[in-house]
């Protein structure tokens, strides 16, 4: 998992130049938001939190992480261009609840928390939401947005999932015992 300074470095790199997931002509373009700046939907503070949050969930490994592929920019476009007012309000509420919970757990700004503490607290929160011991409305939905956004990018789809545009054949029975 990346150190926080590497995350921020990644943010700057990924958003400084390439920073745009350009679709083919005639289709919408997702433009990343510069670090420290608000998005079209998110505030600057929300962008910072989402970048940190998403990077802890999907970090850079041998393949790109959430920050590298600009998940926060993807979601900013999603909320701006796809969501209706009801979804936007619901999403903003969920983001606020998640952020408040994590801030509370680290005793300050989660975005500024150290690597070990951030991982520890988010791991504990995630586990308690998924085992049902804690209710945090919208957590799973936001995590779903992050994951789906990541795997909808070229980095997530091709480099991580090995997605193939034209399989060319159907094999209904691929034994992956050796890889498990």
């Amino acid at each position: 998992m990346l150190k926080r300074r590497e995350v921020l470095q990644g943010l700057i790199v990924s958003m400084g130049g390439a920073a745009a997931l350009t679709a083919c002509s005639g289709v919408a373009t997702v433009v990343a938001t510069p670090h420290g700046q608000p998005g079209r939907f998110y505030t600057a503070q929300e962008m910072l939190f989402l970048s940190r949050f998403s990077d802890l969930i999907i970090p850079r490994t041998e393949t790109p992480g959430a920050v590298d592929v600009n998940v926060s920019g993807y979601m900013d476009a999603l909320m701006t261009d796809w969501a209706n007012d009801e979804t936007r309000a619901s999403h903003r509420g969920a983001m606020t609840r998640i952020q408040n919970e994590l801030n509370s757990r680290v005793g300050g700004s989660f975005a500024d928390a150290g690597e070990d503490q951030a991982v520890q607290e988010l791991t504990a929160l995630d586990a308690s939401v998924f085992d049902g011991s804690m209710e945090l409305e919208g957590y799973r939905t936001v995590k779903g947005y992050i994951s789906r956004s990541y795997f909808a990018t070229e980095g997530g789809a091709v480099e991580e999932l090995k997605w193939v545009a034209v399989p060319g054949r159907w094999d209904p029975s691929v034994d992956i015992s050796d890889t498990l």
Partner: protein, 566 residues
């Protein structure tokens, strides 16, 4: 002198086949399409990668509410941002529903109609179906039997390309097949358990209109084998699945006998009472509102079961005050669809080390009808087939615990194997289930709006209740865990997009619109070969039957023309 030998109204599934068969027999044919032109090289969007379609390729929520409430509500799985133009905007193409009823009229107005967006399940009818009305005393008897249509099934299947397996089932005759998409291991397990525990029930590969062993004829039309991308609702650059645009219209075009006019909304069919012949059609241009008359010696209506009925109802004359060829008062009646809303899903263990490669298009398995075939203890008549499949669920939705590397890695695992099956049941013909012309409301071209009044009957409710129980029982027999089966909730009429029966075939002109050749009883040079002609619905997906009857009717019509009869 007529402008054309034949006019085909509609370029979708049946219209494309009518055009192909008529042009290949030397007729000069005009195909009228009410929507704009689709050019595959320009308009297919099947080659877009996930990252080239922002927002998960989802149509914005406000746009759905404004433009696609019916269409999206009916087929959310098929309508995406990149292909939304394949579907009509509900606010631009409204219709009305009788009080207390609801109808899903799901459509695409453009070249090839819904044959671009269909789900490609392809099954023959059998004599169980052609004899059903007679045996049950329901509706009217089909005027033909399986042997009459069998050679035409063979002809259109050979041309189209159907992937499937020979099973020798009397209720579901084998087609001319190309190799099937092989079942997954979990589906094979389901097949074994179901066929062992329920003798007379079969689990077979879904039969789908995809090329898997391309023929020279298909190659000559620029078609090739399915590439297992499952991008079919976006068009197919490989032209591997059958559609009018991928197959029949190019075949018609290469004869040099095809003229195609787009944006031509047919408002009525002209009728010459003295000669007792239809002579042409009146159209309004969808973009310019210009009105025009096209004439021909023979007319094929292939506008869909609803639109063809409406055209007939709009074509009033002194001879036919209730609509053309409607002396029986059956036009617009007996509107049928298939009914779903019962099924089950569960998880199968023992396959965690298995995954699949490629994305299989359309369905995986089909469980042919057994009710009132091999099992005769049912509290309903007719029956249903199940469509479904078993595949690894995967984890791409983010609904698994954990964060970090382990969470990321988990998405590469196939996940648990889930099986699901859903019933497609037969709706009985009922003359009170009908589409009529709204008395006062008009569309922007001045045409009456469709008014639907369709309800399911007791038989459909009883059938689906039993189908739901059967689905759970079969999954239990297969050893599934966590089986879920939602309360029976019948799909809205129209939702299966198999509209049928609005100008039914029959033996008696007093009780039916068409004869066994899909020729109007009352007007010899008028043929209708879309879903309108269906005397009963069977439970099989109907497009293949439309294709076969279109080819047969075209051959018959040309024969009559050559003999000078019409």
């Amino acid at each position: 002198m007529a402008d054309f030998d034949a006019i085909v109204v509609g370029s979708g599934m049946s219209g494309g086949m009518s055009a192909k068969e008529l042009t290949e027999r030397g007729l000069k044919v005009l195909v009228l399409e009410r929507g704009p032109e689709i050019i595959p090289e320009r308009d297919y969007v099947d080659e877009l990668a996930p990252w080239e379609t922002p927002n998960f390729d989802s149509v914005p929520q406000d746009e759905i509410e404004k433009h696609y409430p019916k269409q999206y509500g009916g087929v959310a799985y098929a309508i995406k941002e990149s292909n939304k133009d394949f579907w009509v905007k509900d606010d631009e193409h409204p219709y009305e529903e009788a009080e207390g009823t609801s109808y899903d009229w799901l459509r695409g107005y453009h070249t090839a109609g819904r044959s671009i967006m269909w789900s490609r399940q392809t099954y023959r009818l059998s004599d169980y179906d052609f004899e059903a009305n007679k045996n049950d005393g329901i509706g009217v008897d089909w005027p033909i039997r399986y042997d009459d249509i069998k050679p035409w099934y063979e002809k259109v299947e050979t041309f189209a390309g159907i992937a499937g397996s020979a099973e020798g089932l009397p209720q579901l005759p084998d087609s001319v097949f190309q190799p099937a998409f092989e079942l997954t291991d979990a589906e094979k397990e389901l097949k074994s358990k179901v066929e062992t525990n329920f003798p007379g029930r079969n689990v077979i590969p879904a039969r789908i209109a995809h090329i898997t062993e391309v023929t020279d004829e298909q190659r000559s039309l620029g078609r090739t084998n399915c590439q297992a991308r499952n991008r079919c609702h976006f068009g197919c650059t490989f032209k591997a699945y059958f559609s009018s645009l991928n197959a029949t219209l190019p075949a018609a075009e290469r004869t040099g006998n095809l003229t195609m006019v787009h944006n031509a909304i047919v408002q009525s069919v002209e009728y010459d009472a003295a000669a007792n012949r239809v002579t042409g059609v009146r159209v309004v241009d969808a973009e310019t509102n210009e009105k025009k008359l096209y004439t021909a010696k023979v007319i094929f209506l292939n506008a869909s079961a609803i639109a063809s009925a409406m055209i007939l109802l709009q074509s009033k004359s002194e001879t036919f005050p209730n609509g053309l060829a409607n002396g029986s008062d059956q036009v617009g009646r007996n509107l049928m669809d298939h009914v779903s809303g019962a099924g089950a899903a569960g998880f199968m263990s023992g396959f965690d080390s298995m995954k699949v490669f490629g994305r299989r298009p359309s369905g995986g398995i089909y469980i042919p009808r057994y009710a009132n075939i091999t099992e005769n203890d049912k509290p309903f008549i007719r029956g249903f087939g199940f469509q479904g499949g078993a595949s690894p669920v995967g984890n791409s939705g983010g609904q698994i615990p954990g964060i970090g590397r382990a969470y990321k890695e988990a998405h590469k695992q196939p996940g648990p194997w889930r099986v699901s099956i859903g019933a497609f049941g037969e709706q009985l013909p009922d003359p009170d289930n009908r589409v009529t012309l709204h008395a006062s409301k008009r569309d922007r071209w001045g045409n009456p709006l469709a008014l639907f009044n369709v309800r399911y009957g007791d038989n459909e409710y009883k059938m689906l209740e039993e189908a739901g129980k059967d689905a759970v029982a079969m999954l239990e027999a297969a050893g599934c865990s966590n089986i879920t089966s939602t309360p029976i909730s019948l799909t809205k009429p129209g939702n299966r997009i198999h509209e049928m029966g609005s100008a039914r075939m029959g033996r008696d002109p007093a009780t039916s619109v068409l004869n066994g050749r899909a020729q109007a009883h009352e007007v010899p040079n008028l043929f209708i070969t879309d879903g309108s002609f269906m005397t009963s619905a069977a439970c099989q997906n109907p497009s293949l039957t439309y294709l076969a009857f279109s080819a047969r009717a075209a051959d018959y019509a040309v024969g009559l023309m050559n003999e000078g009869v019409i």
